[in-house]
């Protein structure tokens, strides 16, 4: 597990008070019980943690995350971009 994966999974697990080892990258956020307010809060936590800007709009399904793996991938990409600046 990479650092980013570890942190993202940790933030999601803490939000829903679930055990970290039980969260899989293929898990859907909806199935983990992440509702709209939780998702907005999760994005805030991730942005604060990694000092990145995640372009998500609740009205645009193309920018929304479906699975834990998608969140990890997006955050990893933004963190890499940040490093290369």
């Amino acid at each position: 597990m990479t650092d980013v994966t570890n942190d993202v999974v940790g933030i999601i697990a803490k939000k829903k008070r679930i055990e970290k080892p039980t969260v899989e990258l293929t898990d859907r956020l909806e199935d983990l019980g992440l509702e709209s307010i939780d998702a907005v809060e999760m994005i805030f936590d991730l942005e604060e943690k990694f000092d990145i800007q995640i372009p998500v709009n609740a009205n645009n399904p193309r920018t929304e995350f479906d699975t834990v793996g998608q969140v990890v991938k997006a955050v990893q990409q933004l963190v890499d971009e940040q490093k290369n600046k």
Binding site: I37, V40, I43, Q53, V56, N57, A58, N59, N60
Partner: protein, 404 residues
């Protein structure tokens, strides 16, 4: 119980600083949206679009010495109230003054004062705030300033329910005039929420459109913030007749409800109960309604849910309704929105014209009603509803009837 009529309207909006100019632009489908031009730090905001009240100069409306006492939210309110009272043609002598209410909605009060004060204290590390910081930013400041500037000595207070504030205020004033608790009311809503701090807060909610507000449309991207104020003068029909006033429309019903579910997600049942409540309060059957001024924020969730609620309340008649969102033209003015929309609803009934939902690109399968897309429509409107559904699950709906 009194029949209650509307005899005066006033408005300060992104589409003009009078109710007349506002309505002319709405009825022609003009957009009031444009670049957000905050004076401070705005280049760092990701939200670039808003519906601002442009070119508003307080010096044109107030003596220089009182301007430091008035946050922008109160300036809008007083200017709109004066216009409404002037149109109604009422002179408040002491007997009427003590029997006139000023009930004014605002979602967030004096945000400019808040923002300026906090910047000064936290960023500039100044040791003291301006002396009138508190009485400028308090949520009741607009109601107090209207009371003082217009000489209204009856019940006066603020109503706060976010995006439904003005509708709750107007509904409450309507019931007070109807019951005879007061002889007249100046009521509406005001908001001046376009500050760096509040826009940052809205950005974080992830519900803002990057370009345009396209309510009920396919490919809509969310809401756009607005600002402004609108005021109505309400009085008993008998009083209006006795003094030979021009009646603009009749207010006939008010319904409210709470979802008791989610802080931000809308709720079909709560919306339905507020609309049904307004119809029941008016004693009017659903199939007599022709026009709905929708809450229609342009978010995926609101517009779908409001459509479902309209189906629930109106059944087969829903397909015959003209439903439009004037937020497509003036954005979402939060605590003023319900008043801007009540003015639009009154004028729609009076002029027999449904204002359009502009920026509409095509049908979303989840929004299957007639949203008066892009072009205004001449049509007889006997009864109309004006919907407001707030964060926190607080809903309010007004029913307006053409006066004939």
């Amino acid at each position: 119980m009194n029949r209650v009529v509307i005899t005066g309207l006033g408005a300060v909006t992104p589409l003009g600083h009078t109710a007349r100019e506002y309505w002319r632009n709405l009825s022609e489908g003009v957009s009031g949206l444009g670049p957000l031009t905050l004076p401070v730090e705005s280049e760092t905001l990701t939200q670039k679009v808003a519906a601002e009240v442009k070119g508003f100069d307080p010096m044109q409306h107030f003596e220089e010495r009182v301007i430091p006492q008035l946050d922008r939210v109160s300036q809008f309110a007083v200017v709109a109230a004066r216009e409404a009272i002037a149109q109604a043609g009422i002179k408040f002598d002491m007997a009427l003054s003590v029997r006139t209410a000023a009930i004014i909605g605002t979602g967030v009060g004096g945000q400019t004062t808040h923002d300026d004060s906090f910047r000064r204290i936290y960023k500039e590390n100044r040791p003291r705030a301006y002396p009138l910081t508190i009485p400028k930013l308090m949520a009741n400041a607009p109601a107090s300033q209207i009371s003082m500037h217009c000489g209204l000595r009856g019940p006066a207070f603020a109503v706060a329910s976010a995006c439904a504030s003005a509708t709750h205020a107007i509904g409450l004033a309507f019931h007070m005039v109807r019951s005879g608790a007061v002889d007249c009311a100046v009521t509406g809503g005001t908001e001046a929420c376009l500050t760096y701090g509040t826009v940052r807060g809205w950005e974080a909610l992830r519900v803002m459109a990057p370009d345009m507000c396209r309510p009920f449309s396919a490919d809509r991207k969310g809401m756009v913030l607005g600002e402004g104020a609108a005021m109505l003068v309400l009085e008993p029909l008998e009083r209006a007749k006795a003094r030979g006033a021009t009646v603009l429309a009749e207010m006939v019903g008010f319904g409210m409800s709470a979802d008791a579910s989610d802080l931000i997600a809308p709720d079909v049942d709560g919306m339905s109960r507020a609309m049904q409540g307004a119809l029941d309060d008016a004693g009017i059957a659903a199939n007599r309604v022709q026009y709905i001024n929708a809450h229609g924020t342009g978010t995926t969730a609101n517009d779908e849910t409001e459509t479902q609620a309209l189906h629930q309340v109106f059944g087969a008649h829903a397909k015959k309704l003209a439903v439009s969102s004037t937020k497509s033209m003036v954005g979402h003015a939060l605590g003023a929105a319900g008043a801007l929309e009540a003015v639009a609803t009154v004028m729609a009934a009076r002029d027999a014209l449904a204002p359009p939902t502009i920026g509409w690109l095509g049908r979303d399968p989840a929004c299957d009603l007639d949203y008066v897309p892009n072009e205004p429509r001449k049509m007889d409107i006997d009864v109309a509803l004006s919907n407001s559904f707030a964060f926190g699950g607080l809903n309010a709906v007004l029913a307006v009837k053409r006066f004939a």
